[in-house]
Subunit: 258 residues, 4 copies
């Protein structure tokens, strides 16, 4: 079975900043898609902010198993109704992998219900990601730790909810730490946040980063969709599983049982 | 130290429906406040939808340690900016206890980032709440289980995130179960959802329900406020804890270190 | 890739009690293995208490991806060193699925570090298992709920640690509830507890139960082994990743770096 | 209300190693008790390995609200029946705070059911503990981070179960990270692991460490005891809450309902 991954990118820095353009001639979206395509069981396509409906139409999301999200400069330009659409897709079972500065994207904050703030420093310092849960599917085939010689620093406290699982914790040269790989579930959808990926550094050219992303796509994939999780149906009294007789005062009229 | 609880209620059914008015002559807010006031270390006041800014001004929230929320018919009338204000207060450390049909309130869905849907039936059937975590502070002084002879049924799946802790699970006469007491944290704020409380039944006249609510207020109370969790400050390179030298390409200009 | 499941059973009731013998002519182990074998990607074999080393030799465990455990009358006869061996296998990545009265097995209590106690009643009453996390891999292809017309009752509080995930919650005819499907991880090994399976009832002849068990085997399968999680190696100062100089008093002599 | 804390120490290094003896003339136990006694609502006493029953008699544990545990060289000398006794006390509601090398104590491994292994290096390097959950009671009145100029390094992966909550994460000068403050619950008892405390460094003379320990004692305190969590009583059919009639085959004779 092939997993259909969709890599979304705001695609802003690549078009304005020559350093980023040179770093990612395919765009961050194109480069991340290339990393995923190294896995024969993943089919990766891309979408960007500039497309109609940001490339995230209903029909597109219906054909998406796992969405990857990179944004930074243009979080505010993502339309609220598209954010809600993506949230509904996640709740029904689409996986989502939020990358780096996506911690402040509308969709990540929407799904976590938390500030998702942190400290940061752009100094090209060394980051070392430690695998704290080596048995987790996202850590498959990884070394004990891996280094990114130049990265932006993100420092704790990261004001996110207590993760379901913590997979990576980062050490930074300047003295900070960060929970760099954390999982959540919302509705039937699995969520993975992965910290590295500053646009001016060659992070998405790193082999180990590619392995993490491919692992995460597999982990986040849910073959089923659960639209019923978004609805709150009445169960009529005369259709109750165990037979009961209505008692006491009631507010609403009897819903028709059909 | 006194804990300042604020009981918020949409206060709609009490004014329109004679059954509810007779059940709660003080309003649901007044009755819940009375339950809390039985604890000498809690000071309980009330606010309703009809007040200016729904009674939830900035200054009011600043003086609130734990907010209780009851809503049902008028979720849509709660203004979005007030919801955001409450969310920010929670993130900074204000506790919140969401009651019954508040599972579909804007603030609960905002904080959980999930559909928060369920099945329901209004038949006045028996609910039995089992204490599944007797060592939890919210279960203090409770019996092994307690019954509400007439309650609305809420049935699983309850599409909320995996709880931090599950304190109560309900058995319903008609055949369903429900995770009726669950905890979360968002930012520095503690969240407790407590299922019972249908407006046409005498739930908030029940002694054990009162004990649960008082316990929950104590548990949700955080004496500190953490506004810093909402900000994402830059840490200038020349002020890094461990001395580092800037390297690599950078996107932004040097923030002034002050 | 084939998953190698090993179904372990104390195999006591089947040999002494004609009701159980008639119910499970293959033994519970044989019947569970038959349920698993309906999935072409699972190879199921069996082991019992009566075999040498209870059928759980080191070499056998090395060839096992997921172990299923049924025990009741003979928990005390399982040798402690075998329990430790199984625990070490789990920590290294072998999955384990503990069934029904296995809640009181040495291995389950060993892995959870908790009393794992509960209330019980043998009355052949109706159990209804609700899927509270329909998006979980263990709930794949399941209905909203399923019933076992005759089961032993297990009632809360179930004194286990807060689960990583709760998948099923049971309703019992006599008035109790139970968290019937819960997950944990210890070391690199995934653990699933599944409540139903009383020996005198035809639970392991139920199609839905079979689906749950097959799903659980897939979920618990970890293709990697992590023996390093059991060791606490010294990292010599002269081999530290970031160069440091030894300072302060020290207790131990310099380990040889090799 | 006064919280009765008991500080247990193996008390081995203090008597054999002059560096440790000079560092902790009161013993580690005495010094930790002094830190706790700075809080007027905590009464701290001590016990050591050398006392009868290691100073952990049944009557002593009955008078203990929160036990603190420091051990390193003599884990193996702690008698198994005392470990079981302490575990049973925790399950019933006694809090336990495990310090530093206590990660490998029998009682910590017993309660967590996991290897609890890690990497280590004794080089007197700098440790910086970041508060990742500033809203947690254990983080009350703490700065954003605090430093211990000389500490032993503990490095990930720390093979413990996924924590209920992560409060601290450490940065080490030599390049490692560690989850240094983590919480669990077993039965009705709360568990906190706090990493720092190598015997040759002045860690327990640090003011912030004292604040953490005092906070942790308050957090771990449970005023109730729940011996019922250790028992698995039968609920006779004729005493079921909802009336049921026995059906189907049964294995055991009718327990007498009394």
């Amino acid at each position: 079975m092939t997993i259909r991954a969709l890599v979304w990118n705001e695609n802003v820095h690549e078009r304005k900043n020559p350093v980023v353009a040179e770093n990612y001639p395919l765009g961050i979206h194109g480069q991340v898609a290339a990393l995923l395509s190294a896995d024969g069981s993943i089919t990766a396509s891309t979408a960007t902010l500039q497309e109609a409906e940001h490339g995230l139409t209903e029909s597109r999301l219906e054909k998406t198993d796992v969405l990857l999200w990179w944004g930074h400069a243009a979080h505010g330009e993502v339309r609220d109704e598209i954010v809600e659409r993506v949230a509904r897709a996640v709740w029904q079972g689409m996986g989502i992998i939020v990358l780096h500065s996506g911690h402040f994207s509308k969709i990540f904050k929407r799904l976590l219900g938390a500030p998702c703030a942190l400290h940061w420093r752009e100094a090209g310092e060394r980051e070392r990601l430690w695998v704290v849960n080596p048995g987790h599917p996202i850590a498959r085939n990884l070394p004990r730790y891996f280094e990114l010689e130049n990265e932006e620093m993100y420092g704790e406290p990261f004001s996110v909810p207590e993760p379901l699982e913590t997979v990576f914790v980062s050490w930074f040269q300047g003295g900070e730490v960060f929970r760099s790989g954390i999982t959540y579930q919302r509705g039937a959808g699995r969520i993975f946040y992965f910290r590295p990926g500053h646009e001016t550094y060659p992070t998405y050219h790193d082999d180990t980063v590619g392995q993490v992303l491919r692992n995460a796509v597999h982990w986040a994939h849910n073959a089923e969709r659960h639209p019923e999780l978004l609805t709150a149906p009445n169960t009529p009294v005369d259709q109750s599983i165990e037979r009961i007789v209505e008692r006491g005062a009631r507010l609403t009229r009897h819903p028709k049982s059909t």
